[in-house]
């Protein structure tokens, strides 16, 4: 279980997170949606301290971290228990696909090379890229890179994987393979996922919980199907209608 309590963050006078509270049960998938600038990416990056929030509390199972007073050690411990999938993949450019998955296993989990390799191959297979193990990131398509990024995160057995708009940088025809991989990760691996995305269809089909953020606040949260069909808040309805219209237009 991961819980956030009263997370606040400002850049100068600009308050981007105005006290966020939410709970993500173990093994569930939570999707955060919202217009750009709503603070959803900042929130996500605040959880593993890539950006440090000003105030609040992060609870990860038995760990409790006060954001304001977090020590280096706590931050490190938190990062060891979480993993992230980035919008721009951020695969280690100097490592092959397989080495990208092994890196954290060897350095952080202290597995031997052989153990790490064995485990990495398992996850390479889970994302369907066994034959690409020896390829460098620049030799892979965006979709393939992102699937490796997901394997890298999954292999660490994290308590939660943070997905930061994992399909936004992809060409439209490559979005499907990444969403499929994420869906399989949710269904087969049963890992806890917190996903910032614009893919409403993915939220509807896969997520257990949906959060709509705007202006640094959580405006509405609930079950995705219910929220999409009957949003309680006017702002949620407005935001979602734009998406459903768009998707209808495309389909």
């Amino acid at each position: 279980m991961i819980a956030l309590k009263n997370i606040q963050k400002s850049y100068g006078d600009n308050q981007v997170l105005r006290g966020i509270d939410c709970t993500i049960p173990t093994g569930s998938v939570t999707v955060i949606i919202g217009p750009s600038g709503s603070g959803k990416t900042t929130l996500l990056r605040g959880i593993n301290f890539l950006e440090r929030a000003d105030k609040g509390e992060i609870i990860l199972d038995d760990m409790q971290v006060d954001v304001e007073k977090a020590t280096k050690k706590e931050i490190h411990a938190l990062r060891q228990r979480t993993a992230m999938v980035f919008q721009s993949y951020n695969l280690f450019q100097n490592k092959t696909a397989l080495e990208n998955i092994m890196e954290g296993l060897v350095v952080v989990k202290k597995l031997t090379q052989a153990q790490a390799k064995e485990k990495a191959e398992v996850y390479l297979e889970k994302v369907g890229l066994v034959e690409k193990g020896s390829f460098y990131p620049t030799q892979l398509s965006g979709g393939q890179q992102q699937r490796i990024g997901i394997a890298r995160a999954l292999a660490l057995d994290p308590k939660v994987i943070l997905f930061d708009e994992p399909t936004s940088a992809l060409d439209p025809e490559l979005v499907g393979e990444v969403l499929d991989t994420m869906k399989r990760a949710a269904e087969e691996v049963k890992c806890t996922m917190l996903v910032v995305t614009h893919e409403i269809a993915f939220a509807r089909d896969v997520a257990d919980q949906m959060i709509f953020m705007e202006g640094g606040n959580i405006v509405e949260e609930g079950r995705p199907r219910e929220m999409i069909q009957a949003p309680q808040e006017e702002r949620t309805r407005k935001f979602l209608s734009r998406f459903t219209l768009q998707q209808a237009g495309i389909c």
Partner: protein, 236 residues
């Protein structure tokens, strides 16, 4: 025209001067090694924004790049013995005689190149995509692990062209060491030319030797760069 250039003399000189190429290369290689260590340390201190040391490092980089190599050599040559004298309370006098000029030369060239290399390393580290560091942190590495295993190897590849440029400059820069009595290629050339009172042949031979050495290293570095940039090429 026959007496403008004495070819047999030129050839003879060429043979003699080849023997001094190792000195020049030794100077350049050892200075490059120490300067790289120094440059890395300075870059790291600035990168971590360590108080006092960081500002000192920035000051060094600015001054080191603004001073001509010769002045740095002179300051080391005249300053180091004085420093020894003061530190030893007047016991180690006349340091010029006790320290080989080669040591002064390596030290001076190291201090000079170190400032440039520190800046080269800093730019290289800065141009590694910020996401690389973030990704490394996100899988749970410490910032030192992330830096050493992910950022530094990529920065090294980015720095390679500039480093090789710096080294080529250093090979040429060693010629200044003759000013503090080091007998390297150019120093030997000066002795030979004034002994024989013939300049053109000697300096042409010297120039050709430096040129050949430079070209060899340039080609070697190009090959190395091609090899190292395996992950930069897009081969779809």
């Amino acid at each position: 025209m026959g007496n403008v250039i004495d070819f047999s003399f030129a050839l003879e000189v060429f043979g003699k001067l080849i023997g001094y190429v190792p000195v020049t290369l030794g100077l350049a290689l050892s200075s490059m090694f120490f300067a790289s260590v120094l440059g890395l340390a300075v870059m790291f201190v600035r990168w971590r924004r360590i108080p006092v040391l960081g500002q000192l490092a920035t000051f060094y980089v600015i001054i080191g790049r603004a001073l001509p190599t010769l002045i740095v050599l002179y300051l080391v040559f005249f300053g180091l013995p004085l420093l020894l004298l003061i530190l030893s309370g007047g016991k180690v006098n006349n340091g010029f005689n006790q320290i080989s000029p080669l040591v002064f030369a390596v030290l001076g060239l190291t201090l000079h190149s170190g400032a440039y290399l520190a800046e080269i390393f800093r730019t290289a580290v800065q141009s590694v995509n910020k996401g690389q560091m973030e990704a490394a942190l996100s899988v749970g590495m410490t910032s030192w692990e992330s830096f050493r295993r992910i950022v530094l190897p990529q920065a090294a590849v980015l720095a390679l062209p500039l480093m090789s440029n710096q080294f080529l400059g250093l090979i040429k820069g060693t010629s200044i060491a003759f000013m503090i009595t080091v007998m390297e290629l150019f120093g030997a050339a000066n002795v030979i030319s004034s002994l024989n009172n013939r300049y053109l042949e000697v300096y042409i031979a010297t120039a050709i030797l430096y040129w050949l050495v430079s070209i060899c290293f340039e080609k070697a570095f190009q090959m190395l760069e091609a090899k190292m940039s395996f992950f930069k090429e897009r081969k779809i």
